[in-house]
């Protein structure tokens, strides 16, 4: 296997709290040295990284690959390539594919196709219940052995008895449960945050309590079952508060937020902009600020893209009839960098939300540049600007509310297991 050195870059490794200009040396797919190379080392290839930032490859906790089942929106190849092009080296895919990831066969199919694509690493999440129907437990033991990193039901489990046993059963295999807090009834026909804006636009609302009621129920069951849980894509200030209290009580609970919830509010749907139709909905300015503070205070541990690519037609409809979701892979890194500029937040901490911390949530050997670990690396030029244009997006989905916006921070190289997967 080829050896490689990355020379003269600003190496930022949040896991080891390192921010220094140095060289990295890679062999056998791993980082073998930092600073001066080992005595007998000769690099087959040199990457000149002066004035660039070298950080761990990004880990994205929620990426819809759309394969199997909705290949008109995205394929494993198109979406993992889009991830790699933006410095993302590991993606988790939720189980709501078609068929659902509730059998070994589907879990293996996804991983085999991802391997064949040779782009970003794919970690499937297994279904908590068969078909995500909330009735019968999925074969979580087998699914874990088949490579699933955690379990999730995406949709609410209405039957609390089933939910309780599903959580206990997941705990039995030491699987983390990814929870999408959403009451099945409250605001079920809504498409926007319930408030003055949804009222003015005549859109059915989704109240904050749609999220918080479910968080309350989930937390009680987490306490009861002892399962390790991760809350996906928080959207409300109240939700952040509840997670914070649970963590203070010592419950094994983590949380993430999507990058777009840190930058957009319900104001952005103002003229029925279907690109801002997402679930959970974009909420108020105050909610957005609380989500940002939640990151700073450590209540929210990670930023994800919540990538949901769509074909153009899915958004070409009146707001409530358009498909929810944002194609977010392209903007995960630049929005994270933007956050560091907007807030009292240093770059190393900002990058931890997309590298080291999601790796911790998943319990995987990734998200660090420490010696002996896989060389999954993102190199970017922090000062290079680029506009987000549909014809430059590798994702099949061009559905982004950020189209046309200028971003700072351009990925120049993405390495996975020491191989150059992407060169910008």
């Amino acid at each position: 296997m080829a050896t490689l050195s990355i020379i003269g870059g600003r190496v930022i490794d949040p896991a080891s709290n390192l921010d220094v200009i140095t060289d990295l040396h890679i062999a056998e797919g791993e980082i073998i040295a930092m600073g001066s190379p080992p005595a007998d080392f000769s690099a087959d290839k040199l990457i000149e990284a002066t004035e660039q930032i070298v950080c761990p490859g990004l880990i994205d906790l929620s990426v819809r690959l759309r394969e199997p089942g909705a290949e008109q929106k995205g394929t494993i190849f198109s979406e993992t390539r889009a991830a790699a092009a933006k410095g993302i080296t590991t993606v988790c895919c939720p189980p709501d594919t078609e068929p659902v990831i509730d059998t070994q066969a589907v879990a293996e199919l996804i991983q085999q196709r991802a391997e064949k694509a040779g782009m970003a690493k794919v970690l499937p999440l297994a279904a908590l219940t068969q078909g995500l129907k909330g009735e019968h437990l999925a074969e979580m033991g087998i699914l874990k052995e088949a490579g699933c990193i955690a379990v999730s039901n995406v949709l609410p489990i209405v039957n609390t008895d089933v939910f309780r046993y599903a959580l206990e059963y997941a705990a039995n295999y030491e699987l983390t449960v990814f929870l999408h807090a959403r009451d099945p009834w409250l605001g079920h026909n809504g498409c926007a945050h319930e408030g003055a804006i949804s009222t003015r636009l005549g859109l059915s609302g989704i109240p904050e309590a749609t999220e918080t009621i479910e968080i309350a129920r989930d937390l009680l069951l987490i306490e009861m079952t002892g399962v390790r849980a991760h809350f996906c894509q928080l959207s409300s200030a109240r939700g952040v508060e509840m997670i914070k209290e649970a963590q203070a009580k010592g419950l094994p609970v983590t949380a993430d937020v999507s990058a777009h919830h840190l930058f957009l509010t319900d104001q952005d749907i103002n003229s029925y902009n279907t690109q801002c139709h997402v679930f959970p909905p974009l909420r108020s300015e105050q909610d957005k600020e609380a989500l940002r503070q939640g990151l700073l205070q450590g209540t929210i541990n990670a930023i994800c893209s919540d990538h949901q690519p769509h074909e153009t037609d899915a958004k070409l409809n009146p707001f409530s009839m358009s498909a929810p979701g944002i194609s977010g892979l392209d903007t995960l890194l630049p929005l994270t960098l933007q956050l560091a500029e907007d807030m009292p937040l240093d770059l190393i901490t900002a990058l931890s939300y997309v590298t080291h911390k999601p790796a911790q949530i998943l319990g995987i050997d990734a998200g660090t540049l420490a010696i002996g670990h896989p060389a999954d690396i993102c190199i970017f030029d922090p000062n290079s600007c680029w506009p987000l244009r549909p014809d430059k997006m590798y994702s099949k989905g061009h559905n982004s509310p950020f189209l046309g916006r200028e971003f700072k921070g351009k990925v120049t190289y993405t390495l996975i297991n020491g191989r150059i997967i992407w060169k910008g």
Binding site: G195, I197, T199, N317
Partner: protein
């Protein structure tokens, strides 16, 4: 967001909603309607303002009354009229909205009158239609029903003259009502002294105060000394299915408009209703048929308002003015 309604000279190009329009434009619509109000009373009930134009009624929701008044309005302006009643259950399976729009466009129509169940549908169509076609919103979901609002304003002006001193109460299912939203905007722009909304908490949407209204949950308190009462239709099926109300009977006990309740209003108050009315649910028969009721005036005025809006969006009125 409603700038798309205006051409670069500030004239009406589409009519999608009241929000964002200037007072002078609303007055213009009322004045134009006033100039057309007598057309139906002549022996030849037509003016040639839209001769040679084709107007398409595109209704994705069942409606008899609104569709008929638009059709009548178009015919009195000498336009040709096509009616499409589209069953949304079949349209959701097949052709999408854009394709349908492009197909109709290919038939060289000049104007689409659109009613649709989704808020923003008319706005969406205006964004995607060819530049020479006008869209008129005949009701989109819970969002807007601007011609209804304008005919309400016309009726208020006809009976009360000046808008400035008026207190207006809108009573009923504010949550689901596009009429309420458009009326609130029109009344606010025209500068009435107070707009109130009255209804049980389940039917008042969150944040409605930010539209500039005062909220009341008690009917008598809400109607105290008002000059205009706008009653809304209660959709019984929706109410009971959605757990918004226990029964039509109880609703009438607390929110039904009766002679007794009307004693608290200004003595000259008028009662309006967009129709069709549910007698004994939101309004008592002897109020609907009583001396304060202007409900049938609203219907007549609706034709003139729709004629005015159609003529203005297709430029027929200003062309005529220019020619003079």
């Amino acid at each position: 967001m409603n700038n798309i309604q205006l051409d670069n000279q500030g004239r009406l190009k589409h009519f999608l909603g009241i929000g964002g329009l200037k007072r002078s434009l609303l007055i213009d619509i009322l004045d134009t309607a006033a100039s057309l109000i007598n057309v139906p009373e002549k022996s030849v009930k037509k003016v040639p303002l839209l001769r040679g134009k084709t107007v398409v009624n595109l209704f994705f929701e069942p409606s008899t009354r609104t569709r008929t008044t638009f059709e009548l309005a178009a015919k009195r302006l000498s336009a040709d009229v096509l009616n499409f009643n589209i069953d949304t259950s079949s349209s959701s399976k097949g052709e999408n909205l854009i394709d349908m729009l492009h197909n109709l466009q290919a038939m060289h129509c000049d104007m689409f009158i659109v009613r649709h169940g989704a808020g923003g549908a008319a706005y969406f169509m205006a964004q995607h239609v060819a530049p020479d076609i006008s869209i008129i919103n005949a009701g989109d979901g819970q969002h807007a029903h601007p011609t209804q609002a304008m005919l309400d304003m016309y009726t208020i002006r006809q009976n009360k003259g000046d808008f400035a001193p008026l207190r207006v109460a809108i009573v009923g299912d504010i949550r689901h009502s596009r009429v309420a939203r458009s009326d609130i905007q029109a009344l606010t722009i025209l500068g009435v002294s107070q707009v109130r909304v009255v209804g049980p908490k389940t039917l008042i949407p969150k944040g409605v105060e930010e539209l500039g209204v005062k909220v009341f949950h008690d009917l008598k308190a809400g109607l105290k000394e008002v000059d205009v009462v706008i009653m809304l239709r209660l959709q019984r099926e929706r109410m009971l299915r959605g757990a918004f109300l226990p029964s039509a009977y109880e609703y009438f006990q607390y929110y039904g408009l009766t002679k007794e309740v009307l004693k608290v209003t200004h003595p000259d108050a008028i009662v309006m209703h967009p129709g069709p009315i549910n007698r004994g649910v939101e309004i008592d028969s002897n109020v609907a048929d009583g001396p304060y009721s202007v409900i049938l005036q609203q219907v007549s005025n609706g034709i003139a308002i729709r004629m005015a809006v159609m003529a203005m969006t297709l430029g027929a009125v200003s062309e005529k003015k220019d020619a003079n």
